[in-house]
């Protein structure tokens, strides 16, 4: 089978990932010699665009980086600027921020589970074909999205690029009466989410284990979503302010996104659902914890193909958290904590659906942004995705190009890469010589 020992596989315009990019795999003499995840677009437009803007603007501007996770961008931006301005959010406002973020998790995870990733496991080219045969299943996914949209419309003002978020909190906060119908929707959605976990737990998962260092936020006592400090599977622990000392970004020739690595560590690292779950599964709320056990997940999950199960468990988690937050909600006296500009630097981190999202802003005394730094999860995961793909392809060289390319695409989709955030469009190429 010489053609399988020397070949190139290419996928251009990779489907069902957020953004645009390509994958190139070159095989020579039966060994995978090169794997590249190519990202084309200049990634730093937004950082340059933020310089010279008022400290009040980054939450609205960075929300436009990604249509799928605008709340993550707003939250990390707000936290960084609030730190620079010395503002601390009172409890109810912090709770509303977490509630809004729960909406984004439900929305993003349901999109990925139902529309982007499940078709891979069920042998369908996409969600449309899946819907033709299993309308009820896809409708369940849309129902989960609907409750997420309700949360984001109520708290964010609209479901894409929310306009109600500001430094220090919100422009307007909901009343208890406005949140009540949401609780009803969420209770119904909890059953749908539990059904989702049972459904995806029944998929066939290739035997694959990634050995990367895992990086996630931690907030002892509860599952990390909108805030926390950073911890790694190798024992690292640091705050947002030390992020740039521990995470080193490097330019690589084939990509306009920077690759990240952890200082003092060889090899790549992974952030996102597997990392969050493995480092924090003990703090899942009760229904999510039980669902994880029922799905066969142990306290640690290192199979990227099972990240669809973790995402489903995290949908349950987000719904439980949202219900709990609504249950104790008392409207704050003011919709926001006032923030006065002052010279300084602030750092913010949150758990975007795809992993840790870091922002840093340097402000002058008038509150003008002097410099900005954004490190999105996909650029952090790019090296880990490449490493996993190299190992994955090496074990499947007996496959012909077409099924191998499909398998590679699925392997990439496991990570739900948001190339839009890291930069942009995806394509797959496998070179067998």
């Amino acid at each position: 089978m010489t053609h399988r020992s020397y070949r190139t596989l290419t996928a251009t315009g990779l489907a069902r990932v957020e953004g645009e990019g390509s994958m190139y795999v070159r095989v020579g003499d039966g060994l995978v010699e090169e794997v590249r995840l190519d990202i084309y677009e200049p990634p730093r437009f937004f950082e340059a665009f933020l310089a010279g803007r008022s400290f009040t603007e980054p939450p609205d501007i960075t929300a436009r980086v990604c249509g799928i996770c605008p709340v993550a961008y707003q939250t990390s931006a707000c936290q960084a600027i609030e730190e620079a301005c010395g503002v601390t959010l009172p409890g109810p406002l912090a709770d509303l921020r977490r509630l809004l973020y729960c909406g984004e998790w439900i929305s993003s995870h349901a999109l990925h589970v139902y529309m982007l990733n499940a078709p891979d496991f069920l042998g369908y080219p996409g969600a449309v074909e899946l819907a033709r045969d299993h309308r009820d299943i896809v409708e369940r996914g849309l129902s989960l999205r609907r409750v997420a949209i309700s949360i984001m419309e109520l708290l964010g003002g609209r479901s894409i690029h929310p306009v109600n978020v500001r430094v220090g909190g919100f422009y307007r906060v909901p009343s208890v009466a406005e949140l009540a119908p949401l609780a009803g929707q969420l209770r119904d959605a909890l059953d749908l989410a539990l059904d989702t976990v049972r459904w995806v737990a029944g998929f066939d998962f290739p035997d694959f284990r990634c050995g990367h260092e895992l990086l996630a936020l931690r907030e002892p006592g509860r599952y990390p979503i909108e805030r926390g400090t950073l911890v790694s599977s190798g024992g690292m622990a640091f705050g947002a302010a030390e992020f740039e000392q521990h995470v080193i970004e490097e330019q690589v020739p084939h990509s306009t996104a920077l690759h990240a690595r952890l200082a003092g560590h060889d090899g790549s690292y992974l952030t996102g659902p597997l990392a969050r779950y493995t480092l924090n599964s003990r703090w899942l709320p009760p229904a999510a914890s039980a669902a994880a056990r029922e799905a066969g997940l142990g306290p640690v999950c290192r199979n990227p193909f099972q990240s669809i199960v973790v995402r489903a468990v995290e949908i349950v988690c987000a719904i439980e958290e949202a219900l709990a937050l609504i249950g104790v909600y008392e409207p704050p006296d003011q919709p926001f904590a006032p923030a006065a500009p002052r010279a300084g630097t602030g750092h913010g981190v949150s758990e975007a659906p795809r992993g840790v999202l870091y922002h840093r802003y340097e402000l002058d005394q008038a509150g003008i942004v002097r410099s900005a730094r954004i490190v999105p999860p996909t650029s952090q995961n790019q090296a880990a995705i490449q490493d996993d793909l190299r190992e994955f392809v090496q074990g499947r060289l007996d496959l012909d190009d077409e099924p191998l390319t499909r398998a590679c695409e699925q392997a990439i989709r496991n990570y739900d890469p948001c190339i839009s955030c890291a930069a942009h469009f995806l394509t797959l190429q496998v070179d067998r010589g």
Binding site: R16, G19, G67, R135, L142
Partner: protein, 182 residues
């Protein structure tokens, strides 16, 4: 508050696009021009074009009007595939012409895709196909597609696309006239 045809009949205008991607911002731009000009009850929805959100926005609507950018770049000659029943037809674009407008009435029946600009690999064609599979098409779907060539990062429409915004807004308002709503 008066009640317009939208409130009774379920009318939605969906502006698709990202104002931070140059000409991709034509959808949001027209949406902002429509504010205050439509009857009460006509919903104006900003969207990134993601299918689940598109379907959610137009489910149950008597009329959905979508404004989206369509990438026109040679070569090869671009074309918009329009999915009417019973057989698909196409509008060849020949040479790209930023700002040129296309009005497409999309049938509820299954057919080919409509290719529009999307950063998610899931464009309007996917929304239409998925809505058809789920029987979630609006009673009438009108797509206003604007030819664009610049969807790089940055704000502001190119002069040719900006110049088309008035005509496009007027065309959408014509679609919202009560006589045109099913």
């Amino acid at each position: 508050m008066t009640t317009g045809p939208g409130a009774e009949r379920g009318v939605v205008v969906i502006g698709v696009g990202n104002e931070f991607r140059r000409d991709d911002g034509i959808g949001p731009e027209v949406l902002s021009r429509l504010r205050g000009q439509t009857a009460d009850g006509v919903r104006l929805v900003a969207s990134d074009g993601e299918p689940a959100r598109m379907i959610e926005a137009w489910t149950g609507a008597r009329l959905a009007v979508v404004i989206d950018a369509v990438l026109a770049a040679p070569p090869p000659p671009a074309q918009i595939s329009i999915p009417p029943a019973p057989s698909p037809s196409t509008v060849p674009l020949h040479a790209p012409c930023p700002g040129r407008l296309h009005r497409i009435v999309v049938d509820r029946a299954p057919a080919a895709d409509v290719h529009t600009v999307s950063t998610h690999g899931l464009g309007l064609g996917a929304s239409v196909a998925l809505a058809r599979a789920l029987d979630r098409m609006p009673e009438r779907l009108v797509v206003h597609a604007v030819e664009v060539t610049d969807v790089g990062r940055g704000v502001g429409l190119s002069p040719a696309v900006a110049a088309a915004a008035d005509a496009l807004t007027a065309a959408v308002l014509r679609d919202l006239q009560p006589a045109t709503i099913p």
